[in-house]
């Protein structure tokens, strides 16, 4: 039979705070094990939680980025369950009064080709709540080791409705979520660093029907490819089972990346009796509408909104905007450059999308990806200046490339480099240039002959010779004019 998969995602995202959600113990990635703990993190007798103001602020910002309603009042509940990575054996979370309600994540589906924008759709969110992370388990032979550095880190749990209908949508959803959250500086969403983790609820139903089938929850999907492969596998598994007339059993499954299969997890019958109750150690949070408004002012434009605006306002092609907009810093960079030189948005956008990104990629360390644009030595104003120098024909395009390389390496102003390297374009009325063109024509009789015979391209050999002789400083237009004049 032909099935339609229905997928809901629960995405956990670490919030970029300096300290943990309920204590002042610091958090940084990659510290020595158990060096970011305090009485609260280790759940020592007598330790008490205190809510981190910044975690709340960032949760509100996330809610606003994702079109949620911000709860006027929310509270903290204990989710009771035993696990060795859970210090208190309860997690402070939000049960029936989450901080953000509803919401939507705009996604873009793949278009007919890479340079055509795909269809957009909004995926519904159920809620976002704030909670704390657990420690990290690693396994060695017969033992497991627990590092509590990560325990207590502020997490957002972003819960979608079962409103995703294909692997492509899941992928687009995670991408969009990441772009929005990184744009706002709420999280780095680096799956490799465990900053973004995902559980997927997958069910199938016959195409064309609307009732939801029985779902399975796949836990701990910790990479994009893991999500893709696990969901793909699970869809196939369920389809096979349904085809055989089997019933899907609602269960929690684990993705085994090595074997490429999902497997039922050992599930105790008490697994879902979390005995939620309001945490008596923590007070509710009340957020006034004025406060929400104030926080809203700190948010960047949503990435897709920005892309639409860039296309409209600056007449940029889709392909360029889909390079500039997913990374907030890149779009910012573009607009900062544009402020200095508003005349040529396309020129600036192209220089960023092609040359700058290429150099940033090359400059990145192999294990860390491209160099972030904030660490680039070329400041937006300098990049704008370079485009302007080219547009004003102060330097040739050829020279511009040379200047750009120097700028990227040293961060010098483009004009300083032009002067230092004497790259200023020759004046058009310079007799010297005419002599060079004359010499080039004489040195390339064959090309001249072919040109005269009607092969216009043949004259490029002459132009090339002129450029070589002038070290690229001749204005190509002037050269063309001189050739025309001398051959007429």
């Amino acid at each position: 039979m032909n099935y339609e998969p229905v997928i809901g995602l629960e995405v956990h995202v670490q919030i970029n705070t300096r300290t943990k959600a309920f204590t002042r113990a610091p958090y940084v990635f990659g510290a020595e094990p158990n060096t970011l703990a305090d009485p609260v993190v280790m759940a020592l007798p007598g330790a008490l939680p205190v809510l981190n103001k910044e975690a709340v602020r960032q949760a509100v910002r996330a809610g606003l980025m994702l079109e949620c309603k911000i709860a006027e009042r929310c509270k903290w509940d204990r989710k009771n369950y035993f696990y060795p990575d859970s210090p208190k054996n309860y997690q402070i979370s939000q049960y029936d009064q989450p901080i953000c309600i509803g919401g939507a994540v705009e996604i873009e589906l793949p278009g007919p080709s890479r340079n055509v924008m795909g269809a957009h759709r909004k995926v519904k969110l159920t809620r976002i709540h704030l909670e704390e992370d657990v420690g990290k388990l690693s396994h060695f032979g017969n033992a497991s080791l627990v590092d509590f550095n990560r325990a207590g880190v502020a997490l957002l749990e972003i819960v979608s409705e079962p409103d995703l209908y294909s692997i492509e949508e899941v992928f687009a959803y995670l991408n969009s979520l990441r772009q929005s959250l990184t744009a706002a500086g709420i999280s780095d969403c680096d799956m490799e660093k465990g900053q973004m983790r995902c559980d997927a609820n997958v069910s199938l139903r016959p195409k064309g029907t609307t009732t939801l089938g029985t779902r399975c929850e796949i836990k701990n999907l910790n990479s994009i490819s893991g999500v893709r492969n696990a969901v793909q596998y699970e869809i196939k598994r369920q389809a096979r089972a349904l085809d055989k007339g089997e019933k899907i059993i609602q269960q929690t499954r684990r993705w085994d990346a090595e074997q490429g299969v999902t497997q039922p997890m050992r599930t105790k019958e008490d697994a879902h009796d979390y005995r939620y109750f309001p945490d008596p150690d923590l007070m509710p949070v009340v957020i006034a509408p004025e406060q929400v408004e104030k926080i809203a002012k700190t948010l960047p434009e949503r990435p897709f909104d920005r892309q639409r605006r860039f296309m409209q306002q600056y007449d940029l092609p889709y392909t360029v905007t889909s390079v500039l907009c997913p990374t907030c810093a890149l779009g910012d960079y573009f607009e900062q450059a544009l402020e200095v030189y508003p005349k040529n948005p396309k020129g600036i956008a192209n220089l960023i999308a092609n040359d700058l990104l290429r150099e940033l990629a090359a400059a990145g360390r192999p294990d860390e990806g491209a160099l972030p644009v904030c660490q680039c030595k070329i400041k937006p104003a300098q990049l704008a200046e370079l485009v302007k120098l080219t547009d004003d024909a102060v330097i040739t395009r050829q020279s511009a490339k040379e200047v750009f390389a120097e700028m990227f390496a040293a961060g010098d102003d483009p004009m300083a480099i032009v002067e230092r390297k004497a790259l200023k374009q020759e004046k058009q009325d310079d007799g010297a240039l005419e002599q060079i063109v004359r010499d080039a024509l004489e040195a390339n009789p064959k090309a001249v002959e072919q040109y005269k015979a009607g092969n216009e391209k043949a004259i490029n050999a002459v132009k090339g010779a002129v450029m070589k002789a002038t070290q690229g400083r001749a204005n190509p237009q002037t050269v063309a004019e001189l050739i025309g004049k001398l051959l007429s």
């Binding site: 009485p39 020592l44 007798p45 007598g46 330790a47 939680p49 009771n80 035993f82 005995r275 008596p280």
Partner: protein
């Protein structure tokens, strides 16, 4: 007549230190000697370190000699209930679970005492994790009532009350979840105060029932309670329930004259069936005293008070079941030897580490929170708790303080109630309402039973009315000489 050092008060010893009549080292030595001489009988201490106390005292004497005393209380030892953390000292909560645990940090209240230069002295016995009313639930020893060694000292802060009564400590810290300071204070003939919920930081108090727990002073006089409370009141940012309250001058308030006649409420529900003649007589005497002082006695009603026990025995175990989940044998505490799977570690460590009363309450609390029962038990109990709070605030429209018994009977014999759960729980009948409503309450020695056992009276105040409460208690105390009477040991 001159008392031996160990029966002097904080106020007296503070003065004598200031006047250089005595050194902190001499005081420390007096308590070390007294404890050595008497604790074989009383069994109030789970641990004490004479070396450490003398070292602390020496440092205090040095501070004082160079004019750098931290406060008038600098150099005075104070006993600590073994559920309150002191850095570098054991914290057992009288449980096998924490038999070898050493706290790496100080409780907020202990930080305050240390900031005043006071010297944490010993770890005092309690009912395991503060669950009990007799200190018989300690995993390590049974503390005896210094007035009659056959009798219980009350609980859960039984060690704190007994040590104070026996002159093994000038003053002690206890904690009170359902009466655990006031009830043992009453049984041992000392002053025990449970402050308004949130007035003293709970940070570093091993949690029993978070919404009810409160640390408070146990002393031999009301003045000492005022002195200690002054130091303990503090806004601790590490406790979200810690109140931001500027403490008035508690000691100064003791001698102030009231501007309006005192209105004393007598809740009729606290004088009903079950109240023993011994206790009744003591409370009647107190009523007579306040009348003689021109106080107005007002009969009041706390209509939902009979439900307090039921509410308490849902809320406290529920919170405890979650609070005690951290004792799992993983990061610290007792780990069962034979477990070869983390799940087995939980089952066996908790089976071996917890005593019967703790297990009972954890099981009960787990049950009332479990799927399908939450609304019927926990949520309903929280609603009735609101009614009980309302009762008190209605009553305080008419009266300034409430006077009542602390416990239905004087201290009972060891083993007498250990097998009768509900009867044991009834010990908390008159004290629980105060915790449920978050109010301040104090137990002051009120007299003796016909068997010569101390009996306290309870005064209950409005939220944050500690000054008024202490003043009222002080008035009674100074008109009697119970505080000058000590057990023969």
């Amino acid at each position: 007549m001159s008392q031996p050092i160990y029966y002097k008060t904080l106020a007296e010893l503070s003065r004598e230190l200031e006047e250089k009549k005595v050194s902190s080292t001499e005081i420390a030595q007096a308590f070390i000697d007294r404890t050595q001489a008497t604790d074989g009988k009383v069994n109030a201490f789970l641990h004490h370190d004479a070396h450490d106390l003398l070292a602390q005292a020496k440092r205090s004497d040095e501070r004082r000699a160079t004019g750098q005393a931290l406060s008038p209380l600098d150099g005075l030892p104070i006993g600590i209930k073994d559920a309150i953390c002191v850095a570098g000292q054991p914290l057992t909560c009288a449980s096998k679970m924490l038999e070898n645990y050493v706290s790496p940090y100080d409780a907020g209240a202990v930080e305050r005492l240390k900031a005043a230069g006071m010297l944490p002295w010993g770890r005092l016995n309690l009912d395991e994790f503060a669950m009990g009313s007799s200190t018989e639930n300690s995993a390590f020893k049974t503390t005896c009532n210094p007035w009659n060694l056959e009798r219980i000292p009350g609980g859960s802060s039984g060690g704190s009350a007994a040590a104070c009564a026996a002159g093994q400590a000038i003053a002690t810290l206890g904690s009170d979840t359902g009466g655990s300071i006031r009830q043992p204070a009453s049984h041992c003939g000392v002053v025990g105060m449970k402050p308004t919920y949130g007035l003293v930081s709970r940070y570093g108090l091993a949690a029993f029932a978070s919404s009810l727990d409160q640390i408070g002073p146990m002393t031999r006089t009301v003045e000492d309670a005022a002195l200690l409370l002054q130091q303990l009141v503090w806004h601790d940012r590490r406790d979200s329930t810690s109140l931001n309250h500027a403490a008035p001058d508690y000691r100064g308030a003791l001698s102030q004259k009231r501007e309006t006649p005192l209105r004393v409420g007598l809740p009729k529900e606290y004088f009903g069936e079950g109240l023993s003649d011994d206790v009744r007589k003591v409370v009647d005497n107190a009523i007579g005293f306040y009348k003689s002082q021109g106080a107005q006695m007002v009969e009041i009603s706390l209509p939902h008070s009979s439900l307090g026990l039921a509410v308490y025995y849902i809320i406290a175990p529920a919170e405890a079941s979650s609070n005690l989940a951290r004792f799992d044998g993983i990061r610290y505490g007792h780990r069962a030897a034979k477990a070869d799977d983390p799940v087995e570690i939980y089952y066996d460590s908790r089976a071996e580490g917890f005593g019967p009363e703790v297990k009972r309450r954890v099981i009960l609390g787990t049950y009332v929170l479990s799927s399908g029962y939450y609304d019927a038990y926990y949520l309903r109990a929280q609603k009735v708790r609101s009614l009980i709070r309302q009762d008190f605030s209605d009553a305080f429209e008419k009266v300034d303080v409430i006077l009542s018994p602390v416990t239905p009977t004087p201290a009972f014999k060891r083993g007498e109630k250990i097998n009768n759960l509900l009867e044991m729980y009834l010990c908390d009948l008159y004290t629980i309402g105060v915790n449920l409503a978050g109010l301040p309450g104090i137990s002051v020695p009120g007299g003796f039973s016909k068997d010569g056992l101390p009996v306290g009276i309870q005064l209950i105040g409005k939220p944050l009315a500690e000054a008024e409460l202490l003043q009222t208690a002080h008035l009674f105390e100074q008109a009697h000489d119970f505080y000058n009477q000590h057990p023969a040991l």
